[in-house]
Subunit: 403 residues, 2 copies
Amino acid sequence: MGVVQKYGGSSVATIEKIKAVAACIAEVKQSGEDIVVVASAMGKTTNALIDLARQTGGADNARELDALMATGEQTTISLLAMVLQGLGVAAVSLTGGQCGFVTNDNHSRAKIVDIRADTLKKHIAEGKVVVVAGFQGVDAQGNITTLGRGGSDTTAVALAAKLGWDCEIYTDVESIFTIDPRRCPGAKPLHHITYDEMMEMAALGAGVLETRSVELAKKYHVRLYLGKSLERDKTKGTYIMEKDSSFEYMPVTGISLSDTCAVLSIAGAPADGSCVSSLFAIISKLDINVDLISQQLLDDGTIALSFSCKPEDATLLRKTCAKNGFPYELALQSTLAKISLVGVGMITHSGIANRAFEILYQNGIRYYHISTSEISLSITVDAVNLQRAARLLADAFELCIAA
Amino acid sequence: MGVVQKYGGSSVATIEKIKAVAACIAEVKQSGEDIVVVASAMGKTTNALIDLARQTGGADNARELDALMATGEQTTISLLAMVLQGLGVAAVSLTGGQCGFVTNDNHSRAKIVDIRADTLKKHIAEGKVVVVAGFQGVDAQGNITTLGRGGSDTTAVALAAKLGWDCEIYTDVESIFTIDPRRCPGAKPLHHITYDEMMEMAALGAGVLETRSVELAKKYHVRLYLGKSLERDKTKGTYIMEKDSSFEYMPVTGISLSDTCAVLSIAGAPADGSCVSSLFAIISKLDINVDLISQQLLDDGTIALSFSCKPEDATLLRKTCAKNGFPYELALQSTLAKISLVGVGMITHSGIANRAFEILYQNGIRYYHISTSEISLSITVDAVNLQRAARLLADAFELCIAA
């Protein structure tokens, strides 16, 4: 058996930090466990490369941008492999392409199609620590692709799935918390969280783990661990796994916050579906993620539709709709924020929505859009009220340590 | 027809410089000529990467060092391709591996085994400017290799050979000069020089073009042009080609200088060849370049052998010989410098050696070792006398514009 460990950019920002990480890796290897390490670009390298690209006047060329970005991880992995060798640990670096990551050709947000892991497995069989560049692959023509922001998590989980190993994601936070601890001091660390909860949290703005990677972990039953880089005590981080009896009873596992959230609305469209389908064709073409989609049939036979997305996507969508002659006005509310309660227990605890609405009402906080899934309840509030609403709900559902 | 242009690190050191280079490339393309561009790493990037590697404690791992170094050129080519795209010129970047450069696995000084140019040719056929990372390839197992310092010149010439095109090397010097103009102000630019002369000049210390690349150009009849980056006037640079009638009459084409030159000598070794053969086995294993090899049979039946090499190689060789129990003392002279007269006309002008020796003698400059080839005459002098000797010989053979 073995483990895939992933280290984010802040964990490998300097040679000193790479050395500290290497010492942890060496310990694992010396304990007899096989290990594959996925590394991100050092510190702010990716941003620096993007800045360089912007100066070229041709940064909209996604193929070249991917080739450029891929150098970031390639630098880290060769340095990390050298440090490991310097510690006397046999190690070899593999770029995404060398590791067999074949993706589609959707540059800058490519999807993994296959992992041809022969080279990887050969190196593992030879007892080496294999250091793999996160976030990248090659398409069928050999062009370098990247998986998009957070793609290194996906690389790590995909490798763990391929190898049948556990996956440990090391980052600069200690664990997943019930709510963002920067907003709600006293937020409780979660020792366990289910894949579904984590996906809701990530998708709804918790921002610690890329949703795609959690989805992949769920699909292939990869046990994920998220912890702070260099922290050896595994009781401090969070396991992301299927629900089991060891989970504590908590109807609401966590609250996820999104500072900015634009809501777009259409009124007076015909109920025959033509409006929605032509709108969502545009949305899909622009690859915009929308949520909080809600539609109602009004008394006059027309529909009212609203949905939320990122403010910058809202701007892009309105422009594109206008250019394409989309016949309905997209009204924009841009000063909203989103708050989401997440928990696998919610489905069996019908009182939760009621309790949440009551608390907001009693405290004079208006809420606008509501959307629910089996394990989540999301609402929009005025952005200025987000902080207070979060604190009230966190207290109500016992997500913070009592002050 | 088309042209391969190579731009060195100083020509692409900043985005501004890359833009200036791109404008030149765009002009060529817009004139209707196909063009493949080979680029080096930006400015001092390669040195910066080596510095990073040194801090790892594992920089002796040549495979990882190559993977690290290769990021330098990959960065340049993607940025240059973006700049070209920004100018409206269709362009695509290819790493060494993507361009089909297959090498042996001799990391950090790999030799090109094959160029599988299908992808390259496809992009050319589609009318694109192809920007290729110099200095790199992959071995048969897909490991990233580098061709060693100056390897980008070799990349460019190899591509020109493969495509049957001319090759233009752009650098920060205007042309090849009869003698280093920093040492002899008034040195004349050479409009033409033969492959053989250029190889002698390069190997003997002129340092403008990598010898391997000239050798390759000669072998595949690639017409080479060397000029200053951004200079569009082709009468200012130097063509490196077979001798033809357009060459001016010059018995000595140029003088090449080498500041530091160590000479090692052995005396009293048996004449049966055993000593030389075991010594050169060690030299070959260490991959040390030696020249000025001279051997004489002495009256007592023993031989006297001497040869020159770089001072650092001399130290390494003496250490290795001592460790391996080589039974003869290698005497070291380390304060010498080398001066070489080069010219295809030398073979038919027997008076040249005589003239050179006379000038040095008349001016009280002692010389020690002498070695000749068909087109060159090399001698060692005390390093302190190099500058004066060079000036005297340059004047004697009319290599400088009269002051």
